[in-house]
Symmetry: D2
């Protein structure tokens, strides 16, 4: 909208604040996705083959937590940089068609649509569990699945069983909506506090500076990010150091460099 | 009872089967304890100081999962071997008095009583969360806590808030009973299946062999353990190798050794 | 230099390429720092208290690998965002003065100077090991240490022992130069290949496009980063997916969004 | 030999002491095997497919460290219990024939012979690296490999390149001898100290008690294990708790139990 010059007022992209996306997306979604899967299914994650589709901030949060619970984690990506990062982080990186045959649990976090499609559902093992923690309810092609299913019923709160012709059963959590909201309680307070602080302090900043701003999208000012992080550390009882004067001068100068 | 010769019939110690204590206690308790804490409190585990009291099979399961969820894990032990193992596994090992001052979350899994006592509750930070996943409800000295508390109320299902004189709040989960049973669903089916298989096959073994057995405590026969493990692998779709004849002969002989 | 308009020609900041700093700095420095410490000292990392000073790309690489080898890892930072990230990653975050008293091994990776100073050396335990993997040889104040030391001798290749008055011994690796170069072989070929590819393809890009470029600092074009990552995945035998046409259209449009 | 009654004097099985096999085998071999591979090859472990053959104490040490360095770890086992444990620990468990096709690095730690045989070498990828950290030099069938190889040469200290007909290259480390001894410095002092303490204290015990002992194999007395562990904790600066009198009584009684 900024590029098309249709913004009616200045915007602060709070979701891009470091204290938002680094924390809310990674640590919040990482934990609450696991939580949503546990509450809805009570499966044992240790020993399962757990497929994470999308290795952005949310995806790496979930991959890290699934490994931390004892799963063998497979990652599906379309971006070569992220795929390489996943491989270097020790995850097994495979195309979605291969993952579909092997996985016990699937979670999509891509921000895109139809990431798991009818042909993938058909390739899955009997009993596969499928959830979305990314984007609305478009990441799973549930229409395609429903069109092929012989029957569908609710077997447990937030768990729908689709039976394919031949008898294979696929379990979809939370109707493909964000599983951490549908089946758990969303992000913990300990991560939302930072997001809300970003919103509050950014609103105050716009109220203060708004008349000088243009009708475009602004990043959250770095000082706000630092302030939120420093407040959070204080509530956690964590103390850190400050640069000495000599170090601050050194960082500021390039003449002393290299 | 065996030593005192008061056993009335032969016993099989199913809890000591490898497929029971290695799996049920470690992977089952590890996951379901985290699950119970999440369901009852919805706290963010990442960044928390998480104290595990007792580093037996259950304790190392919980320590491993808490780390896997992003906590800094502290371990309390009385046994020097287990304490050393915890340290070598990268955990910070401290006495309970030090842990009490630093921890955000505490879980006891010792099989003993009064592991967290009144003086430890008094040393805790405001807002500390305390749970037991070990032994009945005797690991936490809740009588001692109640005796010192100015007030007590339920703030959320399975969460009781004790307010100490001065205003410090301590949150006790599930009344000190096993938190994975009190606040979650106990072990997942994927781990109980092995425990039940051990019980079933051991019962069959006693029915078959019982007349030849003495009135003492027997280990689960190793063949049953192997059979349960092999069946479990098959249900997980995991194939393994067999020894070649040459390897089997080698293992059986000591003359070719060293 | 760009800001002061003293650049004589266009520059490509190859070190900022994703395939450089994400990989070379994190995975390369992470491993080779551990390698340098092992080759020079042969200490057991499991069970040690390992202090990482600086939680940038290099620092988190080393912290991750030290934990992976079984250490209890402490992180020292001056930036609240990075400090918070370290805490959420499960590391214990402390001021340098506290770390100095507790650590067994110290590695600096800050890009700054005098990160470990004379008062910190004096607070260390007898036998502490100190290395730098960040910036030249200025991160450790070795002049300050030498001024206080009663004696200094080489006890093993790349290991110098400073004895403080009172008899406490401090071991400095590689004279405070980058320990992965001083005591190991630097980054593995498997990570340098990407850095060199970035340099080669960026040089070709400048040769091709240079006449159209201004005298300023350019980022490595994203297409080069993607190409290097894709080539690397191919050499690793890893295949990934492509966006479907529908997905590519979806990503490109905001009208279909939210 | 005990069973055949050919022992000439009492033996203490020091290798079975908890402070020996839990630590020396797991933490010692875990680290020094990685060390040997790094010194001999300088490969990047992150992103590699690292195959561990044998999931005993040594094998799980190496698997844990390889994962900690960023590898995707595959485990090969013949024992269903150990295979299941590896799977529950999040490792991918496969037959050796499948591992042979996929692995970048292979380490045997089975205590058996001919674990990797000619047909496995032939199935490997060009450039595969193979080492043994288990048992003498019999775990790898190097005779079988040599018989099939078109040529063989030393390409780096401790690294021999076998070229198979067709041009595929296999790199064998340390001639199949224990790679941590052949290419690194063996276990660190920080783990050998416990093994030596076990030997010294067991020798003292035999000297003291020997006349009362029979000609059989004895376990290291538990008190020695505890003493070694307690001494080690003290040298690491780690303090632990003691049982209260009430706890000690509780542990000792079964009447208060269940």
């Amino acid at each position: 909208m900024e590029e098309k010059k249709v913004l009616a007022y200045p915007i602060v992209a709070v979701n891009d604040a470091d204290t938002k996306h680094f924390f809310d997306n990674r640590y919040g979604t990482g934990q609450s996705t696991i939580d949503g899967i546990l509450r809805s299914t009570n499966i044992l994650i240790a020993g399962s083959r757990f497929v994470v589709l999308g290795y952005g901030w949310c995806g790496r949060g979930v991959a890290s937590r699934a490994r931390g619970m004892g799963a063998e984690v497979l990652v599906v990506e379309v971006d070569p940089l992220r795929a390489l990062e996943a491989a270097m982080d020790g995850f097994r990186v495979v195309p979605v068609a291969e993952a579909a045959r092997e996985g016990d649990v699937f979670v999509t976090l891509t921000g895109n649509l139809k990431v798991i499609r009818a042909e993938h559902f058909e390739a899955m093992k009997d009993g596969a569990i499928v959830a979305n923690a990314g984007h609305f309810n478009v990441e799973l092609d549930l229409e395609g699945l429903a069109a092929r299913a012989a029957s569908k019923r609710t077997v447990r709160a937030s768990v729908e069983e689709y039976v394919l012709p031949g008898g294979k059963r696929i379990y979809v959590l939370g109707e493909g909506r964000l599983v951490n909201l549908a089946a758990a309680e969303g992000h913990p307070a300990g991560v939302m506090d930072m997001s809300f602080a970003d919103q509050a302090l950014s609103s105050a900043w716009i109220a203060r500076e708004g008349r000088r701003l243009e009708k475009k999208v602004y990043r959250v000012p770095h000082e706000i990010d630092r302030e939120v992080a420093a407040l959070k550390l204080a509530t956690m009882g964590i103390r850190i150091d400050r640069l000495t004067d000599e170090q601050a001068r050194y960082l500021a100068s390039w003449e002393m460099g290299t």
